[in-house]
Amino acid sequence: MSNVTKILTVAAVLAVQCLAIGWLIVRYERVVTQGTEVRFRCQAYDPYDAFRGRYLRSSVREATTNIVGTVTMKNDWEMRDKFVVRIEPSTNGLWRVAEAALAPSGEGLWVKPRSSSVGYRLDWSDRQKDESYEKFSVRQKTSGRAVHATFPDQLFLNEKLAPAAEELLRKRTGDAVAVYRVLDGGMILTDIELGGVSILTCAKEAKDR
């Protein structure tokens, strides 16, 4: 191999790396800067990722019984992760999942959830304390089939703020709202808010006190 070919090969390797990582940057930057901002109520806690550092995990799970088109529920497992959902504004500045389909149909803001599954509208967590399993099972079956969707759930943050953020989330569980940016079916978690204020701001104030 001549020296010129070797130089070109090494340069090509560098170019491919820069293009691959650059594509990742451009793709996500578009969503973050141009996407529609949406909010969902969430639960959140603070685990750890060895590659990407400390993060908050937000649990946003929405469900809808409004399933567009003729969807043959052959097997719940086979239908896993096949749905897209249309989201629309709800009350108090939050959004909700309006309908689910195998492909976007019609107007509206359609997104591909992080995961989707088919099940009953009622979950076992909806069982009341003094309700028997048999009674709940009947009630569950009559609640109808629904598509359950979960949205992106990892918000990476400064490791110094993570303990304060975790403490705040534990105290104000019901206040947490996940903030997303949505564009062309893609969805990125950009923040978690407590009472309308970014968790990062709250955590910084709590840490400084």
Binding site: N3, K6, I7, T9, V10, A11, V13, L14, V16, Q17, C18, A20, I21, G22, L24, I25, Y28, E29, V32, F51, R52, G53, R54, R114, P152, D153, Q154, L155, F156, L157, N158, E159, K160, I188, L189, T190, L200
Partner: protein, 366 residues
């Protein structure tokens, strides 16, 4: 005393004794003189270690998630080490640099920088994604780096990406034949770099280190990938499958080593198979594997005696003693008797080593 000093001393002695003339002595020294392209062990290890420390330090800084900088600045900072390593490689290629003491640390640093850049971008843009996805992304970006830098450590350790991806994917998607096929295909991507490494006929030290690491990775690593991805057929069968797969992978590595005269792979294969055999001493459910392990120990000892290779004899003897003594100590015999047996085993091992060493010296003397 290194080889260069030894050779100069010997050549001087030959000249004094009149065995070689001045021309021949000079030709011998020229042929084996240390050249700039050869490895300086100290420089290579220091350079490699330094690159690893720099890389790990960079990752630690990234993981702290600098709030001081905005998204754009953080993305640019994450790309900077990758760009610098790439530019250094381009410049070095242009100047015709071939010293391993330069390319080895550069290869290590470039791979770490690539991984760190991917992780930082994922962190900056809250790219949730999956762990298997991130591992695959980094693996595919670092493979060309392995090829162009010809660094030994990245070449030998790259298959670990395939193993990590397999384990992470099984965690997400569960076991399946499809996953096994994909895992083996990913592992196979490492082979061209390994074959190129062998074709280059690297210095012995690099060859031994590269062989040692790849031997373990290809035998044990492939076994881990197969046992992780194969659909479970019941707990007991899965354990047996694990034994069988591990020995099969070790045997394949050993056979390839023998067939293609790769110096270290047969030893690595023996170590991996013997290591697996150590666990057969516990319990009676896998008595068939226990007896197979005894056969392995016997064959290894016999091979070591036949070829006067103490390493094999000792591995076989250690395995044999563990298998026998392990079962012996599980029994209800008195501690006194157990102690005597233990001492006798140690004496037997020592006598065997001394005898073999004498036989080896005797053969060398002839």
């Amino acid at each position: 005393m290194n080889h260069g000093e030894w050779l100069r001393g010997e050549v001087a002695a030959w000249r004094t004794e009149g065995l070689v003339g001045d021309d021949v002595a000079a030709a011998i020294l020229r042929r084996y003189e240390t050249d700039p392209g050869r490895l300086s062990w100290a420089a290579l290890i220091a350079g490699g270690f330094g690159a690893l420390l720099i890389g790990l330090g960079v990752i630690s800084l990234f993981a702290a998630n600098w709030d001081v900088f905005g998204r754009g600045a953080r993305a640019a900072i994450s790309m900077a080490p990758v760009a610098l390593c790439g530019l250094a490689a381009v410049l070095a290629t242009r100047k015709g640099w071939t010293a391993p003491a330069f390319w080895e640390p550069l290869g290590i640093l470039w791979c770490i920088a690539t991984g760190a850049a991917a992780c930082l971008v994922a962190q900056t843009y809250q790219v949730g994604g999956t762990v298997p996805g991130l591992i695959l992304f980094v693996a595919l970006l670092t493979l060309p780096v392995v090829w162009v830098t010809k660094a030994v450590a990245p070449m030998a350790l790259w298959p670990v990406f395939a193993i990590a991806w397999t384990i992470a994917s099984e965690d997400v998607d569960g076991e399946s034949w499809t996953l096994l096929a994909k895992a083996l295909a990913l592992m196979a991507l490492s082979l061209p770099a390994y074959l190129a490494f062998l074709r280059r006929k690297p210095p012995r030290a690099a060859l031994v280190v590269g062989q040692l690491v790849t031997g373990f990775v290809y035998s044990l690593g492939t076994a881990i990938m197969i046992t992780t991805t194969l659909p479970h057929m019941g707990y007991a069968f899965h354990d047996r499958l694990g034994f069988g797969v591990c020995w099969t992978c070790a045997a394949l590595v050993g056979l390839v080593g023998v067939k293609f005269k790769l110096p270290v792979w047969p030893m690595v294969a023996t170590l991996v198979a013997s290591g697996m055999s150590f666990v057969t001493v516990f319990g009676d459910e896998y008595i068939d594997f226990y007896f197979a392990s005894l056969v392995l120990a016997g064959v290894t000892i016999a091979y070591g005696i036949r070829t006067l290779r103490l390493a094999y004899t000792n591995i076989g003897a250690a395995l044999f003693m563990w298998l026998v003594l392990g079962k012996f100590f599980e029994s209800d015999l008195s501690f006194t008797l157990k102690g005597i047996v233990f001492i006798l085993a140690g004496v037997a091992l020592t006598v065997m080593n001394v005898t073999l060493a004498r036989m080896k010296r005797g053969r060398a003397g002839k």
